[in-house]
Symmetry: C2
């Protein structure tokens, strides 16, 4: 089996996840388990864990139709970093930075030994490392590229529940790092920041985590720090309109965003002290799903569609009018869909004693006005869950398609 770097054939638009030998072969080779992993990825987009035997050796391809880190299975550790260009840095310097970053991402994701200046990730395999790059609205004015700025980067509307910290929102450039090993992820973070020196300065950075591969008894959807199964209703790659909803078409506009996607990033703090005081029944009423397995309160298992019409003996809907599962359901949102791929975060405790913890919500879509915005508008008006969460930071980034071999991320924008 041969792997085609730019646009894989034979595994129909699935990002190839390859397993390299224990010695860290530098050539691209899809191992025996590669197909199984790709299949698992395709099954439900996110939830399938990396097979246990390949936690360290699993490698995600840098080149491809889409950037890595969007439909890649969610990794155990994530870093989100935003940068602003320094005064004087314009298009030329930005292009050089994206070139450096792309080379670094390619080398680190391939686990090539030349790309390991800090030594932190020595001994480790690629550990499913992904590095994903995006552009914020402010990038385009700073680089004189206003004409290339996508309409999709129109600022998100204000939501009544927002309490946004501007210093931890937005940014010219956005980088998402994910890996199943914390040291591999940290090494990548250090290197990405080192490469930025002189061109872009750190604006904000957030650390996230999810479950360790193999910690659960069976592959299943992630839980968030409220203990809820989170991601059940994600669109599945097997659905015919998955690509249309998540990715900009190859013929889309602007042309440099072909096969790209838009990332909505929200730091959502959870009021866990309040939440954990509620009984399990109260919590399940807020969500509309059972805590144990994520199944709808109307019965079945996690994959069963909620019966939004079903009423209980007293005539009231089994899934309450303000239950999160109802308000967020695609069928109540004109089919709007986004691919949620969040990390949890926990930065210790706030001065008021409450845990500074919650969700680094990341939603991917072809158009935020058709994905995140209408869903969040509905949630903002009538979601029972909103009493237990605070949106504290927000960003919206244009994430170009994956680079062809020899190309760097954003080249079609910056050299266009």
């Amino acid at each position: 089996m041969t792997q085609h770097d730019h646009e894989p054939q034979g595994v129909s638009r699935r990002r190839l996840v390859s397993t390299v030998g224990a010695a860290g072969a530098t050539g691209l080779a899809v191992g025996a388990t590669g197909g199984a992993v790709a299949q698992a990825v395709a099954r439900d987009g996110l939830a399938a864990p990396t097979p246990l035997t390949s936690v360290g050796s699993t490698r995600v391809a840098f080149h491809g139709k889409h950037q890595a880190g969007i439909v890649t299975p969610l990794q155990a550790v994530g870093h989100l970093i935003a940068f602003d260009l320094v005064p004087g840095a314009r298009r030329k310097q930005a292009a050089a930075l994206l070139k450096r970053w792309s080379r670094t991402a390619r080398e680190l994701m391939a686990n090539e030994s030349t790309a390991n200046p800090t030594g932190v990730s020595l001994d480790a395999g690629p550990s499913s490392l992904t590095i994903t790059f995006g552009f914020g609205r402010s990038f385009f004015s700073r680089t004189g590229l206003e004409k290339q700025r996508p309409n999709e980067l129109t600022p998100l509307p204000d939501f009544s529940g927002d309490a946004l910290d501007k210093d931890r929102s937005d940014g010219d450039l956005w980088v998402q790092i994910g890996s199943n090993d914390a040291l591999v992820a940290f090494d990548a973070l250090r290197e990405i920041q080192r490469q930025a020196a002189g061109t872009a300065r750190l604006r904000w950075q957030m650390n996230g985590f999810t479950r360790t591969p193999g910690a659960t008894r069976r592959p299943m959807t992630m839980r968030n720090l409220m203990g809820q199964v989170d991601g059940t209703n994600n669109p599945k790659r097997s659905e015919p309109n998955f690509d249309r909803r998540i990715f900009v078409p190859a013929s889309g506009s602007p042309a440099w965003m072909a096969n790209g996607s838009y990332a909505v990033v929200r730091r959502i703090r959870m009021l866990l002290d309040d939440w954990d005081k509620r009984t399990r029944n109260e919590q399940e009423r807020v969500i509309g799903r059972r805590k144990s397995d994520g199944s709808p309160l109307t019965g079945g298992n996690e994959d069963t569609e909620p019966d939004l019409e079903k009423r209980g003996p007293d005539g009231s809907p089994v899934i309450a009018a303000d239950a999160h599962a109802r308000v967020a359901a695609p069928e109540t949102n004109g089919g709007a869909a986004m691919l949620r791929r969040p990390f949890s975060y926990h930065d210790g405790f706030r001065d008021d004693g409450a845990p500074d913890a919650g969700l680094l919500f990341i939603a991917w879509q072809a158009d935020p006005q058709l994905g995140f915005v209408p869903v969040q508008r509905k949630l903002d008006r009538g979601d029972a869950l909103s009493r237990f969460i605070r949106h504290e930071a927000s960003g919206l980034f244009a994430v170009p398609g994956g680079p062809a071999k020899g190309e760097y991320v954003g080249e079609r924008l910056l050299e266009g």
Copy 2:
């Protein structure tokens, strides 16, 4: 094979690490891999990773001669938390808290479903969860137990390189949580804090991490965020005087500390921007070991003893006079030894742009005056590494022996 909970027979003083079935059996049973794990633990104290197939299912026994979390293989995620008793809480309330905490630790470490109020760790196995409890010097005056206060809790001396934040140092009570799954660890942290309500308030909390089991190509000693192999010179459990150095003897004083140990906790920030600017040669000269594999500059592999007498062609010592490996070597410290079991930490970036990252150094010893103190005195005077690190917080805690079945941690102190 039968497991004896209090004092294991037949596996000579090794803490039993048991592997429960995928369905989460509640009975204690040592699976087929249990022996292999115990053997690996015995080999070098810390470095052996949990076998890949049991990341989630590996369970560490709560009952035993020593508390869990000391010679247990280092987990991927750690939380350190210090509490102070609230005004009015005295010995009786402290005893009740330790009783609650012990029950919770036993249940969570055994992955018993009754002990999962937040739901965060639902679906996961025990994932090598350990919860370890200690008492700080201030605990004894607040509870009228001054006569039971060990001399070993004499405050650590000031070191010239210290820049300690009092708010993140010391504390009446100390809890160390470790797990190979971040959600399991978070769940335990939440529950430990919930149990404290009304009796003790949070003083400080730190989050740490290490490598994910299975991320490296072979089992090996951990790396820290400087990229150095860290822990090579740890005493090995196979050494005849390991127990004498690390644990208070069964006949030791005070009697309630029999089989206990003293934990020195230091938050050591690494000046990574400075460090990463040095060449690999310069870094290796500071440490006295090769970055690639931790072998001494005088040759051999990681396990080879450094040849401290060896001189280069120019007559100067190959391992420099101020090299960390020389200054910290047990042979230059009168045989002082401690078991270092640190987590790395990374809390984003400081206001000055430097990474807030480094080591949550935890050293275990029978007597800090014979373990940490003399070594740190030498390092403080002449360690080349000290230019690249800052000790920012410090704690010293008496960690009692492991509880017998039916006993709670600290019972011999609090009911004595």
